[in-house]
Homo-oligomer: 137 residues x 2
């Protein structure tokens, strides 16, 4: 398969898991629980240009990840976005927000600078998300 994760996504994120259809990544930005799904489809750019089957698979995983994030501490609202103006490789942002986070109520993109995770904090959060995935929560 010729799919390859975009260099910018590779650089900004940590891989959590390979789901059935997409790679699940976490942005290395401890200000928000900010996950990204990247469907493993070569040259995909627009969600609506995937096949109907692929559209649905990405959507199902988006809803699954949204549910997982929604139960994390301090998450009061989920933001979902498929933009791709800078990195055109199709990817879906799923971000947990609360009224005390840095960007609230604005979208997170372009607000301030990423604050990298401490190794232990990243490991703990990734472990929680993996557990939730295993239990199909």
């Amino acid at each position: 398969m010729a799919f390859k994760l975009h260099d910018q996504l590779q650089q900004d994120t940590i891989l959590i898991a390979d789901l059935a259809f997409s790679k699940l990544l976490i942005m290395n930005d401890s200000r928000y629980p900010w996950l990204i799904l990247v469907p493993c489809v070569e040259d995909a750019v627009e969600w609506h240009n995937l096949s109907e089957q692929q559209q649905s698979e990405l959507f199902t995983e988006t809803m699954q990840v949204a549910k997982i994030i929604s139960v994390l501490q301090n998450v009061e609202k989920i933001n979902i976005g498929a933009l791709g103006n800078v990195v055109s490789q199709l990817h879906v942002h799923i971000i947990g927000r609360n009224a005390r986070d840095e960007a609230w109520p604005k979208p997170v993109w372009g607000i301030g600078a990423a604050v990298s995770y401490e190794a232990e904090a990243a490991a703990n959060l990734i472990a929680k998300i993996k557990t939730a995935l295993e239990f199909h929560l």
Copy 2:
């Protein structure tokens, strides 16, 4: 049915059509072809909290609208977003972008001020979108 469109959405948009599941609105902002789907479900806030059937219906209409916008003049990229940090009533933004638009490559939210449509321009665009909907494009 106790569903009622949020006052802010009512104020900022023009109704294009009542689709099978959602109201299709256009933002009264001629800077971008910016459509909004609002599922007619009382008290809906988070996409993942709809029933699975409702989740899919909103997603299907989102893809349909994305396809319609993608063929409009000057649209090079589709942005899809479900945020709801300001207006909590569940709504999905589907926005046609190009590299010469005011906000590019940033997301459109919070950039500059809306430029209302001239009546004829709005009518023309709405007519195009209605035609595309009728032909299931």
